[in-house]
């Protein structure tokens, strides 16, 4: 029976063909990220299996398991806990994953990932076609591969493919995404060989063609997908042009691959490819070009395409055949089911925060800002189960921490009432989201999700209701639990010693629109709040200066996004005074003392305090002797950010 959403998105949910297989729909779960949930020597763990059971259940018709490195030395190993496929000893867990995928009715694909230029994490070097050092400090010094080494590498790939099929996978996939080994042979930048593997594009593609041929010979009955860049974004380094990228795709198709998965970008690319500063759909034209060139080869695509409606429309227009989706499913594993059931407003959207990648590159297991349970599927403590004792719970604050707690606790059977002093759900996030220079819609979607789900689950939210001692007295014994999720404020008290401090305005007041900044603005504090406001105000035409006490701006910004704020500050012409502090505020502006002890006058008609933040903890003391259980979560405990707010709200909700 067709579900209501399937009728609305018919192209997404129509069966499709991949090699000799028919998939139940046109959705491919992409191996976008190595999880780092596994052992250091490459074995898959129960934690990973629990996660893969959830992924298998996402409803995707084609599911790709994360990349496994194929060589015993670990030259192909890029990530701290990347899984391995160079020996049969690893197979039992691969068999389990293949079974999970088949039990869910999907086709199972195993990615073989030799990271090349980014590999060798355990051995102190990496292998490449030529010794061209990386341009980021994260990686290992390169060694050039000999012809024998190349042949061994190809054999290892073929053996890994054979093992994957032996373990039950239906297909394999190799990838050049992000600048891995395959990409480094293909690219003009990294391949400077003068033998048959380098020089012309025909020669540079030889490694790829031999790889495809070897895998096809090893597993002739099983389709092979290849991930190839439609754009490397490495122009500045002399990387391949788009035309060259598509010429290489043609070589792959001529060599007999069964699917082209079009990707974008390298690790070292100086431009964004999948961050939230890129509009969804920005790269769709690359997939469309591939589909025009290869009408008879399935094309998969999903870079910065988190929206199933857009994906459906693209498939309808013939721009690609499979929507390749990963991060949106990390954020909400129910995404495909919700789409099928016409419940898209209930989806937790991937907001492109790249928290997942930030953690990966610190050798940590990846997590997701929007999905607190990701990576904890194996732990019963993270599962939403009926509460043993149903409680009446009051939540102070309808920001992300409070709302996440409220929804979670409600799902467990508790009766939850949220008290919010403002007129809307969302807390500080609502105001700052509107100021975001990247994509306000992404952050606003977090608030929208809470609004939708609060209504659906019947969570009572009392807006315009300030929680204080008087309210508490009126509610005595009506609740069993109080959760303080009252967030944090800018601590204006720290400025009392500064002459002219009464002229200061709070970042929250500016963000919410209660205060309208003038034409010359100084923002004290260049953390994420200060920068968000500064960029937004500057874009509105004002002259803006940020004053930061630390040596660098963006100290509390997610690692993967610091560079973005740095470049916006520069592009917008925002003056950044670091190692500096405001010592006096006058009607004309501020006096700033820099790290060298020199004073500087900065003209301003508006001076905004965007730091420091102070938790709104007063209610803990006020309510301590008025209720059975008193808890706190989010910024009300320690000011941090969205990730901590959502995760703490959830963890408290599953525990109470």
């Amino acid at each position: 029976m067709t579900r209501p959403g399937e009728a609305k998105l018919p192209h997404l949910f129509k069966p499709a063909r991949f090699g000799g297989f028919t998939t139940p729909n046109s959705i491919k779960y992409g191996a976008c990220c190595v999880s780092n949930y596994n052992t250091r020597d490459g074995f898959i763990t129960p934690r990973e299996l629990a996660r893969m059971r959830v992924i298998a259940g996402t409803g995707c018709g084609l599911i790709t398991n994360q990349g496994a490195y194929p060589d015993p030395l670990g030259e192909g190993k890029a990530y701290f806990r990347q899984i391995a496929l160079f020996d049969d000893k690893f197979l039992p867990q691969f068999e389990t994953i293949a079974r999970y995928i088949h039990d869910a009715g999907a086709v199972a694909v195993q990615q073989i990932l030799h990271a090349g230029r980014y590999g060798g994490i355990d051995i102190g070097y990496c292998v490449q076609p030529s010794e061209v050092p990386q341009t980021l400090p994260h990686f290992r010094p390169p060694r050039e591969m000999t012809r024998d080494h190349i042949q061994d590498c190809i054999r290892q790939h073929a053996d890994a493919a054979r093992r994957a099929v032996k373990a039950g996978f239906d297909a394999t996939e190799v990838t050049s995404f992000m600048g891995y080994l395959l990409a480094s042979f293909n690219s003009r930048f990294t391949n400077q060989r003068s033998d048959e593997y380098g020089g012309s594009i025909e020669n540079r593609g030889r490694f790829m063609r031999e790889l495809i041929d070897a895998i096809k010979q090893a597993t002739p009955e099983n389709p092979l997908a290849i991930r190839l860049n439609g754009a490397e974004l490495m122009d500045r380094w002399g990387g391949n042009t788009e035309d060259e990228c598509f010429e290489l795709m043609q070589q792959a198709v001529d060599s007999g691959v069964d699917m082209i998965s079009v990707t974008v970008g390298w690790q070292e690319a100086p431009e964004s490819s999948i961050g939230r500063d890129i509009a969804p759909g920005h790269w769709n034209h690359l997939a469309a070009r591939a589909k025009r060139m290869f009408p008879d080869t399935p094309v998969a695509f999903g870079n910065r395409l988190p929206d199933p409606v857009m994906a459906n429309d693209c498939i309808a227009r013939g721009e690609f055949d499979y929507w390749e989706v990963c991060r949106p499913l990390l954020a909400d594993p129910e995404l495909v089911h919700k789409a099928a059931e016409d419940r898209l407003p209930e989806v937790r959207r991937c907001i492109g925060s790249l928290n997942c990648l930030s953690r990966l590159f610190r050798d940590l297991p990846y997590t997701c800002t929007m999905n607190p349970a990701l990576g904890h599927e194996v732990e019963p403590e993270y599962q939403i189960r009926p509460a043993a004792v149903k409680k009446r719970i009051m939540v102070i604050g309808a920001g992300p921490a409070g709302m996440e707690f409220a929804l979670t606790a409600t799902r467990r059977g508790h009766a939850v009432t949220v008290f919010e002093k403002s007129e809307a759900i969302g807390g500080s996030l609502r105001a700052y989201a509107a100021r975001d220079l990247a994509r306000p819609e992404d952050l606003a979607s977090v608030v929208a999700h809470y609004e939708v789900m609060a209504k659906k689950l019947g969570v009572e939210v009392r807006l315009d209701t300030e929680a204080n001692a008087k309210l508490m007295r009126s509610l005595l014994h009506q609740f069993d639990v109080c959760v303080v999720a009252s967030g944090a404020r800018i601590d204006m008290d720290v400025y009392r010693a500064i002459e002219g401090h009464e002229r200061l305005v709070s970042a929250q007041d500016v963000a919410s629109g209660r205060v309208v900044p003038g034409a010359r603005v100084v923002v004290i504090g260049a953390g994420k709040i200060g920068l968000t406001l500064a960029e937004s105000i500057r874009k509105g035409g004002a002259e803006v200066t940020v004053v930061e006490a630390e040596k660098r701006i963006a100290g509390d910004v997610m690692p993967s996004f610091k560079w973005r704020h740095n470049s916006w500050v520069e592009e917008l012409g925002i003056r950044a005074l670091t190692s500096s502090r405001v010592v006096r505020i006058t009607a004309e502006g501020v006096i700033v003392l820099n790290g060298k002890g020199a004073e500087l006058q900065v003209a301003a008609d508006t001076v905004i305090a965007a730091t420091p933040r102070k938790s709104n903890q007063e209610l803990f003391q006020e309510f301590e002797w008025t209720i059975d259980e008193l808890h706190g979560c989010g910024d009300a405990l320690v000011p941090r950010g969205l990730d901590a707010a959502i995760h703490e709200g959830y963890r408290l909700g599953v525990r109470i």
């Binding site: 010794e131 061209v132 050092p133 400090p137 010094p141 992000m178 500045r236 690790q267 590159f361 740095n566």
Partner: protein
């Protein structure tokens, strides 16, 4: 595989810009002295190289530089080396950058060298940051992230707008 047949800049007539760059050591030293706070955490022995890039092909340049044949012609680089009393500007020749134990290698085209030279008395690092962003200056990293952190490179890299942490963005 050897990188043969490419001409390193030492075999070409040095451009007037490049000549000027290597002869302006006192100005480079003054610049380093003015920006000493960027280098104050750097470990003695830390070394950065700056050389002229010939042609558009950055990868070819890098591969030629790192080719290991013994008869590679020497290349001339401007060096910034951290000693006990701070950063010192100098020149060095090498057949292979590894001989110089560089931590970072900056490779600048003539347009970049001109621009840097014009601002040498002012704020060439800010100019260099823009040139890196536009691709006129390429850079190569010879040490791991941990080694660079331990050697105190964060402030300097940050001043050039270089992402310390790689990530698919």
């Amino acid at each position: 595989m050897k990188a043969t047949g490419w001409v390193l800049e030492s075999r070409l007539p040095m451009s007037s810009v490049a000549e000027r760059m290597f002869s302006e050591l006192p100005a480079w030293q003054q610049m380093l002295d003015r920006n000493r706070e960027l280098f104050c955490d750097m470990a003695p022995g830390s070394r950065i190289g700056l050389m002229r890039r010939n042609g558009a092909d950055a990868g070819k340049r890098a591969a030629a530089l790192f080719a290991t044949e013994a008869d590679s012609p020497a290349a001339t680089l401007l060096t910034w080396e951290c000693g006990e009393d701070g950063m010192r500007a100098g020149c060095a020749s090498c057949r292979h950058p590894r001989e110089l134990r560089l931590d970072l290698l900056l490779v600048a085209d003539d347009e970049a060298l001109e621009a840097i030279s014009r601002h040498l008395g002012g704020d060439p690092l800010t100019v260099m940051k823009g040139l890196i962003r536009r691709g006129n200056v390429l850079f190569y990293v010879m040490r791991t992230k941990r080694e660079l952190q331990d050697a105190g490179y964060e402030d300097f890299l940050d001043s050039l707008g270089l992402a310390f942490l790689g990530a698919c963005r």
